[in-house]
């Protein structure tokens, strides 16, 4: 399976009479976007705002971040099961507005964190301070149920990302990245001497505000299964998770899965990248056992030598992570796990809710309890009402000068557990 990703670099975003990409600037027609979002009768208003790297802007409460992409050649379309029919993606050509992102904001529940600061201390931690963001602040009709509001927000983000992605359909990419994956047998023939490695991708699947979708299916209801790595690049996996901002995997990070990219980078050189195993993080213990047994079983079926296991969330998922690690190691497959830590504000507490000696190779995204001071921003995109709650809600508080003292965990994707960032801890 071969996928060419055509990157069109976006260096600025502006409102314009016509939505288009010109000389690295993404122009967006506000009214068209609003109209698109408000097709959903559960939504009453949609403010469209723009946030660029370096600006004194705070976006909150963030729900999801999505990268605009468009399928130019090959089967299916981006975000299958949502924006396009359920047809296998991951092959052909896909164009990407690299450097642009759609950010959805809206208060689904009162304690929902998710801050993106475009400058200052917070900007160092979130990857989305480096993207040119089209922010959608979306309000629902009165008394809309939280589940339905979450669904509407999720779909609105995907719609706008698809709409913006379309602008790239006929553009010539600035850079083309080629990802080719041979399949199990051919890969083995081609690289008989290289260690066989797969990626075990754990998907958040605990329930409301904690869900992930694969081709439109709730991962909670699926057995552990396999997916071609290139399918992820076409939006096969969509996030429905918006609690625990720091260690969530927004749709953007699924589209740009860093472990898949790094395994491709070594494919045929130091290892043979066999494929991606997707498994879930259900609350029900029997599900955990079944899913982790299945991960280990697939690792064995594939005759792997090694596996990288990534996680999403804290507490309950730590148990899945350790179960996966233990069982896969027990099959003789060497693992590296990626997690993050809740070691207390002073860093002195036991970091994970579960532990095992089998997990002897760990990469950490950092301690999410560390307290940071976020300076006042000139502009807040989102609900001010909510900013009050978030500040009071965290151990710190909204300071008289408008700054916020909070734990790192309020920052979107700050301690991402797919290894998207350089942050770590010792």
């Amino acid at each position: 399976m071969k996928l060419e990703l055509g990157y069109i670099y976006i260096k600025d975003v502006q409102f314009g009479a016509k939505s288009e990409v010109k000389d690295g600037t993404l122009y967006v027609n506000k009214e068209e976007i609003q109209k698109l979002v408000l097709e959903d009768e559960n939504l009453v208003s949609c403010d469209v705002d723009l946030a660029r790297p370096g600006e004194s802007v705070r976006i909150t409460p963030v729900k999801d971040v999505i990268e605009p992409r468009v399928k130019v050649e090959g089967r299916g379309g981006v975000f299958p099961g949502w924006m396009h029919k359920v047809d296998t993606v991951g092959e052909g050509k896909t164009n990407v507005l690299k450097g642009a992102a759609v950010v959805t904001a809206g208060k689904v529940v009162g304690f929902q964190e998710g801050i993106i600061d475009m400058s200052g201390e917070g900007a160092k931690y979130t990857p989305f301070s480096k993207t040119n963001n089209v922010v959608l602040v979306i309000n629902p009709i009165d008394n809309l149920e939280a589940h339905d509001y979450e669904h509407s927000l999720r779909v609105a983000g995907l719609k706008v990302a698809t709409y913006l992605g379309e602008l790239a359909r006929n553009l010539t990419p600035d850079e083309v990245k080629v990802y080719e994956h041979e399949g199990v047998l051919e890969g083995y023939k081609k690289y008989p001497d290289l260690p066989r490695v797969a990626y075990v991708l754990m998907l958040q699947s605990q329930g409301l505000l904690h869900d992930t979708y694969v081709y439109g299916v709730d991962a909670k209801q699926s057995l552990t299964t396999m997916i071609n790595p290139t399918e992820l690049f076409d939006g096969a996996i969509v996030s429905g998770n918006c609690v625990s901002a720091c260690d969530k995997n927004p749709t953007y990070i699924h589209e740009n899965n860093p472990v898949v990219e790094e395994l491709f980078a070594q494919h045929g050189k130091k290892l043979n990248f066999v494929g991606v195993i997707i498994t879930n993080e259900n609350v029900y213990l029997a599900d955990k056992m079944r899913s982790s047994d299945w991960s280990a079983k697939l690792c064995k079926f594939l005759n792997l030598d090694g596996a990288i296991v990534s996680q999403e969330g804290f507490g309950n998922p730590d148990t899945d992570l350790i179960m996966n690690c233990k069982k896969i190691e027990a099959e003789g497959v060497k693992t590296v796990i990626i997690t993050d830590e809740y070691a207390g504000q002073d860093g002195s507490s036991q970091s994970l809710a579960d532990a095992d000696v089998a997990a002897n190779a760990v990469v950490t995204g950092g301690n999410a309890n560390v307290v940071i001071h976020l300076p006042k921003m000139d502009k807040v995109i989102g609900t001010l009402d909510y900013v009050d709650i978030i500040a009071g809600g965290w151990s710190g508080s909204l300071q008289p000068d408008g700054s916020i003292i909070a734990e790192l965990q309020v920052i979107t994707s700050a301690t991402n557990e797919q290894g998207y960032n350089c942050l770590s801890a010792r």
Partner: protein, 142 residues
């Protein structure tokens, strides 16, 4: 240690499922549900964990993860845990999990968060109840 049948419990396997909760919304939703006994605790998140631990000591098994959800123990005051009530040898896996969960709870409890866990405003409490109800409902397929 009795390991027979480990991990093979389906949702309908036990007629004697017990749901321990301190969340009034869960109580209201699960009262008189077929096959589920409800025990409502007038108390804290920790009290629910301790009640579950006491049952595990006498042979019951955990069905759901005691730390489900992404909300930290010092944020949400609500907790619901499902167990298969049975008498017999203690299930070590359940015991380890509940003990670790209580340990984690205590670690977080050491850091109090105004307006979260303590003095939580009602509009946030309602949301905390909703998340807890939603998670346990989807776990138990109700």
């Amino acid at each position: 240690m009795n390991r027979a049948g480990k991990g093979s419990f389906s949702r309908s396997f036990f007629a004697n499922m017990l749901l321990i909760t301190n969340n009034p919304d869960v109580r209201d939703a699960f009262t008189d549900k077929h096959g589920i006994t409800l025990r409502f605790i007038e108390g804290s998140y920790r009290d629910v964990l301790v009640a579950a631990r006491d049952l595990i000591h006498s042979g019951s098994k955990l069905l759901t993860h005691p730390l489900m959800g992404s909300l930290k123990p010092n944020e949400t005051p609500y907790r619901s845990v499902a167990l298969a009530v049975m008498e017999g040898p203690m299930d070590m896996d359940s015991l380890m999990l509940i003990e670790r969960s209580i340990e984690t709870f205590d670690k977080f409890a050491a850091v109090t968060r105004p307006d979260r866990g303590v003095n939580t405003p009602e509009r946030m409490l309602a949301d905390f109840r909703l998340i807890d109800l939603s998670l346990i409902s989807s776990a138990l397929d109700h």
